[in-house]
């Protein structure tokens, strides 16, 4: 069965080809069957592979299809590697992707670009699968650029509105900055270690480079640059909130569950490099902690329900970076998995809400949807509970708790990182339940325009289940001690730090749980009990100024505008008129003027010419006589 590994990415690519070439002539049912079916088959194959993989005691399997290029001593092959890390990624991409595809068949039903949408989505899934299966960094980079392209195409899916096109370009250009850094990192790795094959590269790196050697630092920092761009972390986070211009299933699949976590995957995949560069690894943790706080505060003030979720995604990826930074590799992947479940669920729920409220994005114009959309409400509530890490029962609790514990106990972690994570947890539950209370409680403001059908509700229910039970694969020592996930990952990652005193862990868990619950309680007081007080508080001048600042995402957009965009445009304006050419233009002007003067002497009168010749002769004879 292993030999069919290539089919997992090949099926969505085939779906893309069919839809791209013949999509216009196919009926909507066929398009939906091809689009969702190809991903569904991939999911099925992944399932079979997973069973076999676990059966074979986690043996890494590599399938080489053909040699991609061979130039001199360099060769890259199209080959896929299956190990625990890529299997988890595969599972999330194909399963969550399949559910989102099913949802999309109904969500996009009345869109004229139906087949175009599924073609892009399939291309995305194929590229993303290539990215996670690649056994060399060059193939990984191909997938990396592929998902970037699909992200661009799908953000600008409704291209008739220029604002969507602008958002797509912004996402493309900002992530390109990170991609460039990553490409330079690949050059550096190849120039110094002579290979791009990931396993080989990690071996050579740890054999040839000392811990903290400048080359290791540079390589890790450049790869981090790529990860930061793709995963929308500080300082390249500005593109993700704008990326919400795309259709909601796109936000769920690309900008929450899969593509934006490619950076996390990259760092986890090359974790050997990062352990060789402790300074860069600390930078990963600090970037993660700073991003999760910054994005959390911004999420608190957003009114657009999708932008709340976008900032929340940035913040949750910040948690994953924090985990990577303290060496809790499998905790990061665990949070990636649970986050994919509950964030995809929340986005899909928000998509239903937006459709049912006449394309209204502002939560404060909605309200009272609890009774109107009961299934959406309950699933959304479960997703929110998981996002807020409601203790014991939700998946988000187990993954976030693991990260917080490791941030505290890891030798590279510490009190400050833990405190940042804890504060982030409080903000998370506050903004999450602000969203729930404002959207689903209170008075009904807009009449319902549609009811979600079966194909939309089913993915919600499945994802809601996964957001609850997805956490039980890794129970901490204090609560059942069932480390299934981390032992599954142990073939890829070095064992994380020894578990210290159980009582300390218990204490921290209780603190974290209290913080999460108090965030929910706080939101309840602010938005259900005393909304009048909240409004008055928000209207006070200093609070209002702060709110505006956070609403604009800490002013990063205007900062970059002033620092990069405006100078660039003014330079472009100067360059437009070719300043260097003006020197040559001067020569041309001089010649033209001289020509005009000289052509005046050509009068056509023969006597004038004769006189000219005579004067010339006299002058030259004079010169000759004087000189001799």
């Amino acid at each position: 069965m292993h030999n069919y590994l290539f089919l997992i990415p090949a099926l969505p690519f085939a779906g893309f080809l069919i839809l791209a070439l013949a999509g216009r002539r196919l009926s909507k049912t066929t398009v939906a069957l091809v689009g969702a079916g190809s991903v569904g088959l991939s999911a099925l194959l992944t399932m079979i592979m997973a069973i076999e993989f676990i059966g074979s005691q986690g043996e890494t399997f590599t399938q080489t299809l053909w040699t991609w290029m061979k130039v001199g001593g360099f060769s890259a092959s199209i080959s896929f590697t299956l190990d625990a890390l890529s299997l988890v990624m595969l599972f999330v991409i194909t399963f969550v992707g399949f559910l989102i595809h099913i949802y999309s068949t109904e969500f996009m039903q009345n869109d004229e670009g139906y087949s175009r949408f599924f073609a892009y989505m399939n291309l995305f899934v194929g590229s993303m699968l290539t990215l996670v299966l690649a056994d060399n960094l060059l193939l990984l980079y191909l997938g990396w650029e592929g998902v970037g392209l699909c992200s661009y195409l799908l953000i600008g899916f409704w291209y008739k509105d220029p604002a969507n096109g602008a958002a797509a370009r912004k996402a493309f250009i900002v992530t390109r900055i990170g991609d460039t850094s990553m490409a330079i990192g690949l050059f550096l790795l190849y120039a110094n270690l002579g290979t791009l094959h990931i396993q080989e590269l990690m071996h050579r790196a740890s054999a040839e480079w000392q811990i903290g050697s400048p080359l290791a630092l540079a390589a890790a920092a450049l790869l981090l640059g790529g990860a930061v761009g793709k995963s929308a972390q500080l300082p390249l986070q500005t593109w993700l909130p704008d990326a919400m211009a795309g259709p909601t299933p796109v936000s769920a699949l690309i900008h929450a569950a899969t593509m934006v976590t490619a950076g996390v995957y990259l760092i986890a995949r090359t974790h050997v490099l990062f352990t060789l560069a402790p300074i860069v690894q600390t930078a990963v943790a600090v970037i993660g902690a700073a991003t999760l706080l910054l994005a959390g505060f911004s999420a608190l003030t957003q009114k657009d329900i999708k932008r709340v979720l976008a900032y929340s995604t940035i913040s949750q990826i910040g948690y994953m970076f924090l985990a990577l930074g303290v060496g809790a590799w499998s905790a990061a992947m665990f949070h990636f998995m649970t986050h994919a479940f509950f964030k995809a669920l929340l986005f899909l729920g928000a998509g239903v809400v937006i459709l049912a409220q006449h394309e209204e994005h502002d939560m404060f114009k909605m309200g009272g949807l609890r009774k109107r959309l009961p299934i959406v409400f309950w699933t959304f509530l479960l997703g929110s509970a998981s996002l807020s890490a409601l203790p014991l029962v939700t998946a988000g609790f187990y993954s976030k708790d693991l990260i917080l514990w490791q941030a505290w106990s890891s030798p590279t972690g510490g009190l400050w990182l833990w405190l940042a994570g804890l504060l982030g947890a409080f903000i998370t539950s506050l903004y999450t339940f602000r969203m729930v209370f404002v959207t689903f409680f209170g008075k009904e403001k807009i009449a319902l325009s549609m009811k979600p059908g079966r194909r939309m509700v089913l993915p919600l229910i499945v994802l809601a289940l996964l957001s609850i039970v997805g956490g039980f694969v890794e129970l901490p020592e204090t609560l059942g001690n069932l480390p299934l996930f981390s032992s599954f990952m142990s073939g890829v990652f070095p064992a994380s730090s020894e578990h210290a005193a159980g009582t300390m862990e218990q204490l921290l868990q209780i603190v974290a749980s209290l913080v999460a619950v108090s965030g929910i309680g706080f939101a309840y007081i602010l938005y259900i009990r005393k909304p009048a007080f909240t409004e008055k508080f928000a209207a006070a001048r200093p609070v209002e100024a702060l709110r505006r600042f956070w609403l604009s995402g800490w002013g990063f957009d205007s900062l970059y505008d002033a620092l990069f965009v405006k100078p660039f445009i003014s330079i472009a304006r100067i360059i437009k008129h070719d300043p260097i050419d003006s020197g040559y233009d001067g020569i041309v002007t001089m010649n033209t003027a001289l020509h005009r003067v000289l052509s005046k002497t050509q009068t056509g009168s023969i006597r004038w010419y004769a006189a000219g010749i005579a004067i010339g002769v006299v002058v030259f004879l004079g010169i000759v006589i004087i000189l001799s």
């Binding site: 052509s599 009168s605 006597r607």
Partner: protein, 103 residues
């Protein structure tokens, strides 16, 4: 020995005649007179050659004059043909009227 004319006198004469002919070319507008002035200039050059030949007792100067004479005959035939064409086209002999080829 015969009293010889000093060379300077001959050259001054040639220069005077050349200058007269040149002034004629410049001031005359009638193209026939301009041609005649050019003939005068050619003859002035001829005198200069003959004088120089006499000075060094060489025949070259007189041979050059014969050349100039033949050349002048050819030149006049071409020139007169041009004059006839000019008159034919412009109905005038004014050289300044033929000034359409300018800058």
């Amino acid at each position: 020995m015969m009293a010889t004319v000093p060379m300077e006198h001959g050259l001054i004469l040639a220069a005077l005649i050349f200058a007269l002919g040149f002034v004629g070319v410049l001031v005359r507008r009638n193209i026939v007179f301009m041609l005649m002035s050019i003939e005068i200039m050619l003859n002035a050059v001829g005198i200069a050659f003959v004088v120089a030949g006499a000075r060094w007792g060489q025949p070259d100067g007189q041979i050059m004059f014969i050349f100039i004479l033949t050349m002048a005959a050819a030149e006049v035939s071409v020139g007169l043909a041009l004059v006839i064409q000019l008159y034919h086209n412009l109905k005038t002999l004014d050289a300044d009227a033929a000034n359409s080829m300018k800058g």
